[in-house]
Symmetry: C2
Subunit: 294 residues, 2 copies
């Protein structure tokens, strides 16, 4: 491993862990300042609990991660996972992963956030960024919003936050431009063909990002995380104190069922995780606390 590669891995891992701390703080702040939302404000506020896991506990090797889970009054369940793992891909996986033709070795580090709010008016949100190293190295990630009741201002703010991040870092590497490319990628990815429905109102999604300038790519990935950290709590605070009805909860449980369908049938990250011996609890942290197929 070159000194550069060593440094890059170290910097990425540190950043993902740092971002995790900031996101947890920011979501805990939402918990503390709640004043409405039916009887939710009567409950005590939640805080994150951390659980460490190792990929191969018997070997104390292969890396691992930390799940941070909050079960609270604004967020019925929110998971913020970081993990840094390394190992060898199975032959089946190698055919699907760039840079594994000669050697199945990989290293991967990332952060993944999925928030399931209690209120049907606060959108479900997902953000993930990751750095992968095989014989190649690249970044991937994105963020997307899944409201039960889409709100134009939320959708506009969420997209414009990521558009600004994309535009700032777009040096013409993709002819389409970062934002148009990553927005379309998100729309295509978070889609349920069997329902002929989008999972939510989109956002951005990117993978295999390697412009040749690691520092520039890393800086973009950092800004994606920061963008999420700015806009999602703002949207949460905008709606969390509203009251809701049982009909709105019924709609929420149905939307969450679609979320389950997407994650278990289609999501590559879920499949990738379950097939590479990831931590099942951490991977399925994305599933909602309750869902209904009435």
């Amino acid at each position: 491993m070159s000194k550069d590669e060593f440094n890059h891995k170290y910097l990425a891992k540190e950043w993902f862990e740092n971002l995790r701390d900031e996101i947890c703080d920011s979501l805990e702040e939402c918990e503390r300042i709640l004043v409405g939302g039916n009887d939710a404000a009567q409950k005590s506020f939640g805080s994150f609990e951390r659980t460490e896991w190792r990929r191969t506990p018997e070997l104390d090797d292969g890396g691992g991660g930390v799940m941070s889970v909050l079960r609270g009054r604004v967020f019925e369940k929110v998971g913020v996972n970081v993990s840094t793992v390394e190992g060898k891909f199975s032959d089946e996986m190698r055919s699907q992963i760039p840079g594994t033709e000669d050697d199945g070795s990989f290293w991967a580090s990332g952060i993944s956030v999925v928030a399931h709010p209690r209120s049907p008016f606060v959108p479900i949100a997902h953000m993930n960024t990751r750095m992968i190293v095989t014989a190649k190295q690249w970044f991937g990630g994105g963020g997307d919003l899944t409201p039960v009741f889409p709100d134009e201002e939320d959708t506009e703010n969420f997209h414009s936050t990521f558009k600004k991040v994309c535009d700032k870092h777009d040096k013409g590497y993709f002819s389409e431009g970062y934002y148009p490319k990553f927005k379309k990628w998100c729309d295509n990815y978070f889609y349920l063909p069997h329902r002929n429905e989008a999972r939510g109102v989109g956002g951005i999604f990117f993978d295999y990002l390697d412009t040749g300038d690691w520092a520039a790519d890393f800086s973009f990935v950092q800004d994606v995380g920061k963008g999420f950290l700015t806009i999602y709590p703002e949207i949460v605070k905008r709606h969390m104190n509203k009251d809701w009805s049982s009909e709105e909860v019924t709609a929420q449980l149905a939307k969450r069922a679609r979320y389950v369908e997407f994650n278990l049938i289609h999501d590559r990250g879920t499949k990738f995780g379950l097939m590479t011996g990831g931590n099942t609890e951490a991977i399925l942290m994305s599933l909602p606390p309750m869902a209904a197929w009435p």
Copy 2:
């Protein structure tokens, strides 16, 4: 199509539809005679509602099916689906289906039952039998039980019912014997590797059954259906009047979540259905009315 093939298809389809009627009657009887089960007996009893669907409505071709759904007081949701469809497999599917090497044509008819009881003491049950025709023809199916709180007598009765059916029809076609082979197949099939857990307490599962004696195979398949029709309502009645606690509902919602995970991640029937343009509502009828990933 030979006269035999025509008759076989007709007889199988008629049987599946007949069995559907009998199962619906029997489950409706459970609904009517309920006297306990917390406040469930205060609710009015449920009856099946039928919805027809066509595979390609625009062409009025390719067949279709009928969903029968009951949402009641013993059964929070139970679906009994019959369908008879025909068409051509995509190239991707052809590599996986016997008898499609030269021609992707298929015909398939079957019945599928999934019952999600309200009481945590009444096991979830599944039964499916089907006849498939490509250049080859065969039967498949089985039945399995998923209790939240396994009960030895239920498990023993459920297995011995299917053992009797298997033993009656076992003419030595498989060296292992029908029951041992189909029981093991069931245990292997209804297994969640990512949880290292069985879905339930098993039953039987078989596929590609073609001994060369169509009438014998059909008779076996009929007895599998009749076996389920005898034993499941008996198990339901044994437990349905018991009261339960909210802790027991919590355990039920967690067990149902595992059911969702199995059906969406692993079940071949679900994948097959969604990939061959089956009716999404009918296919996902197997999912529980409510599930929790707390």
